[in-house]
């Protein structure tokens, strides 16, 4: 019961922070959705990190390490530590500047203005929402499951989901972005400390040393694969490095970039990001592998950390560590709920006349009402639908958002890009998502077992589509590879075949390209003249 009490105290603290943020709020959308674009440097780092870290970083990483071994760190963590800071450095800073100059609060608002389009922006909006909402639902499911597990079943699953949904809703409803980032400070510190504390406690309580256990795993031919990558195909490992491109394309991450007070806030974030990933993932992956030796034969390996904590930590500490896990769940869930609300309010309600009719105050009321409705719907869906459907949808969403990265890169850096190029890329991504969903579904019954080679889905097509234990692959690569490459090709080819936006719009977004290249002191060539001299 003590862990439940500790987690309850934690949840009350979250609620109080949301209420305090409400007192500082103003009745306009920029304040509600972006904390008035005034998030300082350290808070920005803590918040953007919490935005991107889900329960998977703690529970999923250790569960995957329990199943697949140490390779999971290189596959997911160190590749993210390389790619995500780079995308924040090159894309996040530019998004921030564009948001500051022109007042954009969502990616779609930027795309619409950059490419002079309305309907195509709506298509991108629709695809983004379809890919984001399952992520939100699965966060509620994860939170409910964690509360049930750490209470030893005393908190039933529907109640656990309800508590998480209620706290998230209250925090976002009252505090908006300000409440969310204030809570993130507390949450990120808590779950950054989680790994090191868990390792220290478990190490202290074990009869043997860590080295003894790892040696046992390494010398046993049946378990040796857990401390090597001998069961991890190299093509799979390589193509996975494209997945972290999704991070900056997730609406909640992009929206967070708009909220920084100054662009210099990104400096600290990009340097600390890989180290923060290391602090969370390394202990969790290590404990997952160790857990395969200490608690063999678990039906649900994602619960390995909870098992280890229950067996090796004092109950009060297990409660604090449980709060650390809940932090990871709620840190990202609050941003997802806020992002969905921001997108519907700005990209649909305001864009199609709601703001003109009801004003800024009306938009904030709409956003708050939407937060309640969407969380309620997500809660009901979380109770009546199997988690496996959403786990699959979230896996696809990562590939889908990664494949939308060329659209953002073209919008920011390529003057000649067009709305039809963006549409072609979006349709390419949507088509691949439908195809991989279909291939996954028809091959579920024939998926090979652990350690077995992949099976051909259509033998007549050779190795084009194969089924591994978990995924569909394309010539051994993850589908994200053709998705990203094809999206980039669609963007380039279709843009070159269609008319670019007006000179005024291009001048608006590329005003000082020459001065950037030559340095601050150089005289900027007027953008329209520059554009005309280079020709279309």
């Amino acid at each position: 019961m003590i862990p439940v009490v500790v987690v309850s105290i934690y949840l009350v603290i979250i609620g109080v922070i949301g209420t305090l943020a409400f007192r500082k709020s103003k009745a306009n959308t920029e304040d509600f959705f972006l904390a008035n674009r005034a998030v300082g440097s350290m808070v920005f780092f803590l918040s953007i990190f919490a935005t991107n870290m889900t329960a998977f970083a703690i529970l999923g990483s250790s569960g995957q390490a329990y199943r697949q071994g140490i390779g999971i760190y290189g596959l997911m963590a160190s590749s993210s530590g390389f790619v995500i800071p780079l995308t924040i450095f090159f894309i996040g800073t530019r998004l921030w500047a564009i948001g500051k100059r022109f007042g954009h609060q969502t990616q779609v608002a930027f795309f619409r203005d950059r490419w002079e389009c309305s309907g195509i922006g709506t298509v991108i909006f629709a695809l983004s929402v379809v890919m984001l909402v399952p992520y939100m639902i699965i966060s509620i499911m994860g939170g409910g499951r964690v509360l049930t597990d750490i209470s030893g079943g005393r908190v039933i699953y529907p109640l656990g989901c309800a508590v998480v949904a209620l706290v998230v809703t209250a925090n976002v409803f009252f505090g908006g972005m300000r409440g969310t980032v204030w809570v993130n400070i507390f949450q990120t510190v808590l779950f950054l400390l989680f790994g090191a504390v868990a390792v220290a406690i478990i190490s202290h309580s074990l009869p043997g040393s860590f080295g003894d256990y790892i040696q046992k795993i390494a010398t046993n031919p049946k378990t040796r694969y857990l401390v090597t990558r001998e069961r991890m195909p190299e093509r799979y490992f390589w193509s996975y490095t494209l997945i972290p491109l999704s991070s900056i394309m997730f609406p909640h991450m992009a929206i967070m970039c708009f909220a920084a007070r100054q662009v210099t806030a990104f400096k600290r974030t990009v340097v600390l990001y890989p180290l923060a990933i290391l602090a969370i993932w390394l202990p969790c992956v290590f404990l997952g592998v160790l857990g395969s030796q200490l608690e063999p034969g678990l039906k649900n390996p994602d619960g390995i950390l909870l098992h280890l904590l229950t067996d090796h930590a004092p109950v009060w500490l297990a409660g604090i560590l449980g709060a650390g896990i809940i932090s990871a769940v709620m840190g990202s869930d609050t941003h997802q709920v806020l992002a969905v609300s921001t997108m519907f309010t700005k990209d649909v309600f305001a864009h199609y006349g709601g703001k003109t009719k009801y004003g800024e105050r009306g938009s904030v009321h709409f956003a708050r009402g939407f937060i309640v409705v969407v969380t309620l719907i997500a809660y009901v869906i979380a109770l009546i639908t199997p988690a496996s459907i959403f786990e699959l949808a979230v896996r696809f969403a990562f590939s889908g958002f990664a494949a939308m990265a060329p659209v953002m890169i073209a919008a920011l850096f390529w003057k000649r890009s067009t709305k039809y190029g963006a549409l072609a890329s979006t349709l390419w991504v949507a088509g691949w998502l439908a195809l991989t969903w279909y291939l996954q579904t028809i091959s579920d019954g024939t998926a090979p077992g652990p350690g077995k080679p992949p099976l051909l889905i259509f033998p007549a097509l050779g190795h084009l589509f194969e089924r591994t234990i978990v995924n569909v692959t394309v010539f051994g690569f993850l589908p994200v590879m053709p998705m990203v490459l094809g999206s980039a090709v669609c963007m380039v080819v279709v843009s070159l075949l269609t008319a670019p936006p007006s000179r005024e719009t291009i001048a608006k977004y590329f005003p000082q390209q020459r001065s950037e290249t030559l340095g601050q002191g150089a005289k900027a060539e007027p953008a329209i003249q520059q554009y005309a001299s280079r020709g279309r």
Partner: protein
């Protein structure tokens, strides 16, 4: 392309290539610090290398011109109407 840009591009490409440590693929030994399998220790070190690379990028390729950006339009929806 300027020399600095070339060098930074090479740096990023080199760090990316170092992620694919095929030479550790089937190795468990040596255990670093007596308990970390070499493949895991290498990738943990790689995370530190990625942070160092980002420090270099911040120092040498920071988009300083963005520091002076000022608002031109408060809300694009207002601007349009």
């Amino acid at each position: 392309m300027k020399l600095k840009t070339c060098l930074l591009t090479v740096l990023v490409a080199a760090v990316y290539v170092l992620h694919q440590d095929f030479w550790n693929w089937k190795q468990a030994d040596p255990l670093i610090f007596g308990f970390l399998p070499i493949g895991l220790a290498y990738q943990a070190g790689y995370s530190i290398l990625a942070a160092a690379m980002m420090s270099v990028l911040v120092a040498a390729a920071w988009p300083k011109h963005l520091e002076n950006v000022e608002p031109e339009v408060k809300d694009p929806e207002d601007d349009r109407s």
